[in-house]
Symmetry: C2
Subunit: 184 residues, 2 copies
């Protein structure tokens, strides 16, 4: 390893992190490159040196999230379909929601992200895979609704300012308890 390690907070990484924060607060369509640049104290052109377009920034932000979902799918696919798989899925989503808390959550339902996800092969592929693993042989209306409510509820409550005072550990426990009541 003669080559020196990339600085801990590389310019590229800082752009991604600044974008993440602003996207979470103002949404993708409500966040301009000027806002991201101002937040970093640099110019728009410097942001464009790292990314060719806004879409590239958005993709760089959501890619790790989709990678996590992809891994979660792989894990739950090894479980038998039905209740065990459902329970592992919501438990995994609770971990993700806690880990990112109030940040990842925004992406669930952001129209600016939805559009980009649809046009990106990798993301939409994972998206389809996720939907497939969830709907697998599920004819039961009650179960399908419960899963849908659990997923959007987990993300929605993780970012709810009204319960922001609750610690990660307490929130995780409470969410798992809710999930168990819904799909267990």
């Amino acid at each position: 390893m003669a080559r020196s390690v990339a600085p801990r907070g590389s310019a590229r990484t800082r752009v991604i992190e600044a974008a993440l924060v602003q996207f979470a607060e103002y949404g993708v369509n409500g966040t301009s490159l000027q806002m991201i640049a101002d937040h970093l104290g640099i110019s728009k052109a410097s942001v464009y040196y790292q990314f060719h377009s806004k879409d590239e920034i958005v993709l760089a932000v959501i890619r790790p999230v989709f990678a996590e979902i992809d891994q979660l799918i792989t894990e739950v696919e090894m479980l038998p379909a039905g209740a065990p798989r459902r329970e592992a899925t919501v438990a995994g989503l609770v971990e993700m929601a806690i880990r990112h808390r109030r940040v990842t959550a925004i992406f669930y339902g952001d129209p600016g992200i939805d559009h980009l996800v649809s046009s990106d092969p990798d993301c939409s592929g994972i998206n389809e895979r996720f939907k497939r693993v969830l709907a697998m042989a599920e004819e039961d209306v009650a179960t399908r609704v419960a899963m849908s409510l659990a997923i959007s509820g987990i993300y929605g409550s993780a970012m709810d300012p009204g319960i922001a005072d609750i610690s990660d550990e307490e929130l995780r426990e409470a969410l798992l308890q809710c999930a168990k009541r819904l799909v267990g």
Copy 2:
């Protein structure tokens, strides 16, 4: 009643309805006045004849929703605090989510709307009142999380395309069942 009745689809009403549809699909920040005008087959200037600004359109769209929430609060406030009030609240929200299905839902979490709500006295007042009636004397972490998850889950699942094939009646029943398991 010498004066003739306003046409069923007045120009103003049509603008509101067109905005509602587009806001739900693209978000407030992702919807331009040009898009609304095009959707109605009229010009931007005609839209501005009905509303002085985009914010006015957004307010006109969300006001009825907040009026419904206001009424719901008044109803549940007459109930004893605790479980009975919580159950009535989620039941009322289920009715609202079903009634609007896939439309009202977007407003829950749209950054463009959140910002406007905060700056509008009426809306933010109702918002505060709603939060107060929910948090009333609730120290129990599990209950607070369950309520948060139920609320965002109800709205989120009502707009979930993955369960759009389920009829309103079936969805209402399934959501009420979920709500009961969470807060009952």
